[in-house]
């Protein structure tokens, strides 16, 4: 019997064949701790009585949810994490470089076939480079800091095949929203989402990242792509024979297979207040919008900002509408600055904020109040996430978000803009 991609990643790590349901203990390649969870993980680590971190070079501390601080107690988290890094020799500390899930691949940590855990549910993002990565709680993270190991259950896999070419106003965000709508918010619980098909092969790593990032919204343990030449170029490594072995066998067994023809897909949004409440934009067109947010670890990359700039060039956002743009990292911010993207967005009326989690986690830069409506490119529209529990959050692609910002009401990007 053949193996799925995730079975191959785990099998290679433990040096034997594995099957779904096996409980295995893995050596961890990377662990990521963000600023919100750092003090909690550190205090548990100390409570466990460890005297050293198993391998300080494999630990990455990233401050992003609270950068820059917006409440008086935020900086306590930085101080606690800084003291921990100093005491235990952790050198990989990003204090103002951007969002953790962007940095873990962009800054050269996670590579194809690696195993990574993070104290944030969107740690699933690194599946974009063919790694296994998932979110855990701070007590488990403390255990990894001390032992370098964690047990995992080998998941079953759901195969998601997307063939063909997407219409120009449809992005990988629309694809993953559609998949979540079809699977439901719990449809992939405990399972691995494995993406393939000609449309996926032609996607940039950035577009794939949007999809792996949201795998957890269907409950998945991970969302993984076969690493290819593009992946290796992005990771700055050779496309080696070892990496070429990371692909699913033809006779691999899946719990479910979903097939999409890209040409049939349309712009969609996740409507309030569930990630699986997916509707075509054409059905909700005309809904008045108070704010548009372009950013996050889901859609704050250069190609997302460039796409929005293409739509907004020479235009202006609607009167009264606030358009918040938050690049996912400092690197992206600088690239968008140098190629003129930020100038176009600013000319169009955008409020450009510093790289970080910002509005997505309801902490900064554009918090909304009762009955306001926001169209946002991030990954969650839970009640109360971006302000009060009476805020209406619609999740959208960067193209739909930009078109909506101009119109002041929900709309899709017209095809003739491209």
């Amino acid at each position: 019997m053949g193996h799925t991609l995730i079975e191959k990643v785990f099998g290679r790590k433990v040096g034997r064949e594995v099957k779904p349901g096996d409980i295995i203990t893995v050596d961890v390649d990377w662990c990521m701790i963000d600023d919100i969870m750092a003090p909690f993980a550190i205090s548990k680590f100390e409570e466990m009585g460890f005297s050293k971190v198993w391998d300080p070079n494999k630990v990455v501390l990233i401050y992003d949810h609270f950068v820059p601080a917006t409440q008086v107690d935020d900086s306590r988290h930085f101080r606690v994490a800084d003291a921990f890094a100093e005491k235990y020799g952790v050198k990989n500390v990003h204090r103002t470089d951007g969002i953790c899930h962007q940095l873990m691949t962009e800054a050269g940590y996670v590579k194809p076939g690696d195993i990574a855990f993070g104290t944030d549910s969107h740690t699933v993002t690194y599946g974009c480079v063919g790694a296994f990565s998932t979110g855990i709680g701070y007590t488990e993270m403390a255990g990894i800091l001390g032992t370098g190991q964690l047990w995992v259950k080998v998941p079953e896999s759901i195969k998601v095949v997307v063939d063909g070419t997407l219409p120009k106003n449809v992005t990988s965000k629309d694809v993953i929203l559609r998949v979540i709508g079809d699977l439901t918010a719990s449809g992939a619980t405990y399972q691995s989402l494995e993406f393939s098909g000609s449309c996926i092969e032609n996607m940039s790593v950035a577009s794939r990242m949007t999809m792996s990032n949201m795998a957890v919204e269907a409950g998945a343990k991970c969302g993984i792509f076969v690493p290819d030449q593009k992946t290796c170029d992005y990771c700055n490594i050779d496309y080696s024979d070892e990496i070429k072995e990371l692909y699913p066998d033809e006779d691999a067994v899946y719990s479910r297979v979903l097939h999409y023809q890209a040409e049939d897909l349309v712009p969609v949004m996740a409507c309030p207040s569930l990630v699986d409440n997916i509707k075509p934009v054409s059905e909700i067109k005309g809904t008045k919008v108070d704010e548009v947010f372009l950013g996050s670890c889901t859609n704050g990359r250069l190609e997302d900002l460039q796409l929005a700039a293409k739509i907004l060039k020479g235009k202006h956002v609607a009167p009264y509408l606030k358009f918040i743009v938050t690049p996912a990292s400092r690197k992206i911010y600088l690239e968008a600055l140098r190629d003129g993207t930020l100038e176009i967005l600013s000319d169009a009326g955008a409020i450009i904020t510093t790289p970080g989690c910002g509005l997505c986690c309801g902490r900064a830069g554009g918090i909304l109040s009762d009955h306001e409506v926001v169209v946002a490119t991030n990954n969650r529209n839970f009640l109360g996430r971006m302000g009060t529990s009476k805020v209406q959050i619609y999740l959208a692609s960067p193209a739909s978000a930009a078109a909506t910002a101009i119109a002041g009401e929900i709309t899709e990007a017209p095809l003739d803009l491209f």
Binding site: I36, Q71, T134, G135, G137, T139, W151, A185, L274
Partner: protein
């Protein structure tokens, strides 16, 4: 016997404990805001030994362990749901709070009913009837029996 607090499907971690309270330095300071957006009297009414009963996908969303910790700190004896989101499930075991899968219970009890749980036998009693619930994988049962991951790791040392 403990009282049942009943919830529907897809209860997410933001609903259990919202992001703005994660900044509070201790779980005891956070716990009074548990389920605030869904049931603003929960934290005041729940008593040690009570139960949370939910539909599918309880605890979906973020990895915040505080979601499990506030329930435990309020004395919730166990969460019984048709299914759990995986991070919440692992977190609960790791802090020593039982999470139990029952496909039936949610549909046959009302908010405020009383129930009893025999964890060892895997039996729930509510409204005069008994229901069997699924047992944990051995790896997780061991962690739970030892009182959570910290106690478990200490025992192995």
């Amino acid at each position: 016997m403990g009282k049942i607090f009943r919830f529907e499907k897809d209860v997410d971690t933001d609903q259990i404990i919202a992001s703005q309270y994660l900044l509070f330095p201790t779980i005891d300071e956070m716990k009074t805001h548990t389920f605030e957006s869904l049931n603003d009297t929960f934290a005041a009414e729940v008593k040690p030994g009570d139960f949370v009963v939910a539909d599918e996908n309880f605890g979906c969303g973020s990895s915040r362990e505080q979601a499990a910790s506030v329930l435990k700190a309020l004395g919730v004896k166990a969460v019984i749901a048709k299914s759990f989101a995986r991070i919440f499930y692992r977190n609960s075991i790791n802090i020593g709070m039982p999470v139990i899968v029952s496909k039936e219970l949610h549909d046959v009890v009302a908010d405020g009913d009383e129930m009893e749980l025999d964890l060892k036998q895997g039996i729930i009693t509510a409204n005069g009837k008994t229901y069997s619930c699924t047992k944990l994988p051995a790896q997780m049962q061991k962690i739970l029996d030892q009182g959570g991951l910290i106690a478990s790791l200490n025992k192995e040392d």
